[in-house]
Amino acid sequence: MNISNNTKKSILSSISLVLKLAIFICLIGAATSSRLFSVIRYESIIHEFDPWFNYRATRYLVKNGFHKFLNWFDDKTWYPLGRITGGTLYPGLMTTSGAVWYLMNKIMKIQVNIRDVCVLFAPAFSGITAIFTYLFTKNCYNDDQLAGLLSAAFIAIAPGYISRSVAGSYDNEAIAITLLMSTFYLWIKAMRTGSISWACSAAISYFYMVSAWGGYVFITNLIPLHVFILLLMGRYSTKLYSAYSVWYCIGTLASMQIPFVNFQPIRSNDHMSSLGVFGLIQFFMFGDSIKSTISTKNFKIFLKFAVIGLISFGILGLFVLTYFGLIAPWTGRFYSLWDTGYAKDHIPIIASVSEHQPTAWPSFFFDTQFLIWLFPCGVFMLFMELQDEHIFIIAYSVLCSYFAGVMVRLMLTLTPIICVCAAVTLSNVFKYNLRIWSTIKKVKNKSDNRFTELCVLISKLITVLSFLGYLILFVQHCTWVTSNAYSAPSVVLLSGSTDADGSPIFIDDFREAYSWLRYNTDEDAKVAAWWDYGYQIGGFADRTTLVDNNTWNNTHIAIVGKAMSSSEERSYEILKEHDVDYVLIIFGGLLGFNGDDLNKFLWMVRIPEGIWPDEVNEQSFFTADGQFRVDAAASDTMKNCLMYKMSYHDFPGIMGNPTQSTDRVRGATIDESHVLPLKYFEEVFTTENWLVRIYKLKDLDLEGRDLGDVYDMDNTQTKKKSLKKPKLEPRIN
């Protein structure tokens, strides 16, 4: 009997192992395949803006090797300043994909294009994230396999995570969430066991995370917070001590090896909490050992003095260090998290980024569907048990839900913990209700409890079935959201209508314009465009840009903004000073494309206004009653600024009516008489749907005249002869 029981057990465990393996394979399959919509619908292409920089950097790495990559000075961006790219990026993403490429091409001899590695990087890593989430949940929640598997399944398909990890979205976050979960898992493991090896692995994982994403600061603050709460609750233990001390020392030393991070971990205030907790835990350890040697009464006196001394010393030290400039001031991005009005008043560049906007409630539901209401329930359940590792999840949830409410982009870091807590809730629901077999057995036994057990069985079955229904709905929701909202590369657009044979029509204006630049301009031509398009111009067209999405120099961005918002004559002066040859603008008026430059235009006014308030004034771009208009009612400053002229140059008259056209984004009628002629710039290229327009700065007049005068003179002469429109350059197909 005993032996058969044992064999039964071993068979069962091996079956469960096989099942678990099958589940994991399915999970990875689901995670990867649900992220491939964009590849199937469009093509294997890098998406959006930031990924284009990462892709360009990866290509550089693969071509030139790691050493050159770290010392890379990029003179094709931020002209004429350049950017010390090697020292100002997080190299984790590029090195990882570079290593994958190397492994495949050089060692396994499978020919893979680096672009395909980059495109498929995020889906592949999301599978790994699922596994780490399983491990994390299982370790955090009483070794509950069900909760672990559920959380892994949730994270694999939750839209909140998919939003940043579809195929082609080759961004730091793609790898960072994986590393976030692995670091947390290893930390929990280290904290529970007190083992130095686990703490070391946590530190190494942390180092990897630091190398990959600026959001590592979140870990730098969350783990100390966890330790701090444990200390406050009187849950100090030697395990905690060894885990935290090892993690902090090795992790901090390792993170300082990243050139971009450098000495920040010991100087910037973002990192101070981890240092403070490190000091505190030393004190706890010291107190703990003192306590065992002296009497309780003496210990109390010692404690009182020590606490007062420590606090005053700490505060004094902080002031002195800040005063002498040894500690860097708080960074603006960090400020805007705590004081929500700060960014709006002080840093327009941060306020202008849509990722930094607060989150409205539909986004939460959109990104997590029914997990969002299971989430608080799970937190409550964790409170009912409240073991050391549960406190970690609770601290994470509370802290991160605040951050996600303040900034849309931090939804990404909230999503994993939503999945974990929701899994905890569901596992609790299922734990009782899934014990169907034992109930059935009891019903079969024909005991006197039969009726009761039957009732219980029915209610259990219904519960399980209904929750299964919610789960199925969740899967459908995720698929729908992924397919509709998160799978567009935003470089290529779908027009919504179809061809005669039913295939969708693409709007490929961006690539049309960039390839025109690539093939029709000098290799060292400088292109001025608003910073959103800097990375794409660099990646697609390989031309030098003035500003790009790495918004490190506010003044430089303001210069471009000033050029766009000044009068043509002044703009020409500014742009000539910066050696610019071409100006590229995005105009959505013909197509009805919302995110065009005129809609971003107020930022091109606000940012320079912060630096040159006497030259640029936001009010003057509004009508007398404070509206932003582009039609006849537009203010004179507006009509005279470069952006307006370039956007509507030759626009009236292309829609049938010879003197008027309708701007489909702003719903405004543009009349020929509003659009003043361009005197210092000439149109060289406009894409099929007018989405991108490229202008060239006219050369300086050979006889030294002002270009405005030249235009006026030529125009009067040509008027005498005949009205002749300037010819457009032939297009490249």
Partner: protein, 349 residues
């Protein structure tokens, strides 16, 4: 000789105008000192003389009605702000004049007519004011024959901002349009409120010290912490911060009555946070009870050998919570469809 007389006449003229101009500023300042916060109070008797040319300064005229029964909330909100506006200006420019060295006698004065004060019906008639609040500006005028009908209306930034923010916006536009210098928001320090804060803080600390065991009990109460954290998470996940940062209005109005939900994923009314928080809260509570209460009641009744009760409670509780969850999640989806028209999933309605 002729030239000489000409220049004398010219000089006399210029002195005369100077005197008149200075007089206009002095007159305005005198009027301003009479009113509260350096704001000229316009009445039927004085408004013609105050607004009469010539003058070398801008005069901002604010028409308002702060009476409760008129129900102009904006007027009441702007009452303090207008005072602040004037106070800030006179703080740095005690005589109302911008900068003697660069812009000469040009200055800025504030005038106000509050319908609730009475005795100013003619003022409102003069401006043909059919609604309040209104903000007008009279520019500098050197022609003594100009009438007092030449003024411009100013836009009141009413929708997006309030309080200091609106005052700042007005200050910025005044500074820009009237070409003023050194005009900054001045906030008087409120000593009363500071004292009250300090005293109450001391009081609270004292009470905490006295009832320290209760305080410790509260701090260490797990259930309180749990409820607080859960509540915090629920409101944070419902755009509470969005309302705070953007200052969303409480609810909207449409033709058919009050509108509770604003269409579109990127915007929301403040009431949405409350409604959706309620839905989330109910759902979370049901899930919690589902997982914890049902097994508990089962074992409780079984221990007491009341099988019938155990069966009943299991069935009733299960059905109760499942229906609640079903109805509320369909409500949630319904509400979400209001925000996102294309959402394809629904249970009911």
């Amino acid at each position: 000789m002729k030239l000489h007389t000409n220049s004398i006449i010219f000089m006399l003229l210029s002195i005369w105008t100077l005197v008149v101009e200075c007089a206009s500023n002095k007159k305005l300042l005198k009027e301003a000192k009479k009113g509260n916060n350096n704001i000229i109070k316009l009445t039927d008797d004085n408004f013609r003389t105050v607004l009469k040319p010539t003058r070398d300064s801008h005069i901002v005229v604010f028409l308002t009605a702060t009476q409760n029964d008129i129900g102009c909330t904006l007027c009441q909100a702007m009452e303090e702000e207008y005072n602040l506006l004037a106070e800030s200006w006179f703080k740095t420019h005690p005589d109302g004049i911008n900068n003697k060295d660069t812009t000469g006698d040009r200055g800025l004065f504030f005038a106000k007519a509050d319908y609730s004060d009475g005795g100013n019906t003619l003022v409102f008639q003069h401006f043909k004011a059919s609604q309040v609040p209104l903000l007008y500006v009279f520019g500098p005028e050197s022609d003594p024959n100009a009438n007092i009908n030449t003024f411009q209306q100013l836009n009141i930034p009413s929708t997006s901002s309030s309080g200091d923010e609106r005052v700042n916006m007005l200050i910025n536009s005044f500074t820009h349009y009237f070409e003023l210098e050194n005009y900054k928001l001045f906030k008087p320090i409120d000593y009363v409120s500071r004292t009250i804060t300090t005293l109450s803080l001391i009081g609270v600390l004292f009470l905490m010290k006295k009832f320290s065991n209760i305080v410790f009990m509260v701090i260490q109460s797990r259930i309180l912490w749990a409820c607080f954290s859960t509540f915090f998470i629920i409101i944070m996940c419902n755009g509470y911060m969005f309302n705070k940062i953007r200052g969303s209005i409480y609810a909207g109005r449409s033709q058919s009555g009050i509108e509770y939900f604003q269409a579109g994923m990127q915007n929301q009314y403040a009431i949405e946070t409350q409604i959706v928080s309620f839905i989330y809260g109910t759902l979370a509570m049901s899930a919690l009870l589902m997982a914890k209460l049902i097994p508990y009641s089962y074992t409780y009744f079984m221990k007491k050998q009341k099988q019938y009760n155990a069966a009943l409670s299991a069935v009733i509780l299960t059905f109760l919570f499942l229906t609640i969850i079903f109805f509320f999640s369909s409500a949630l989806m319904y509400v979400f469809r209001l925000k996102h028209g294309g959402y394809p999933f629904k249970f009911l309605k």
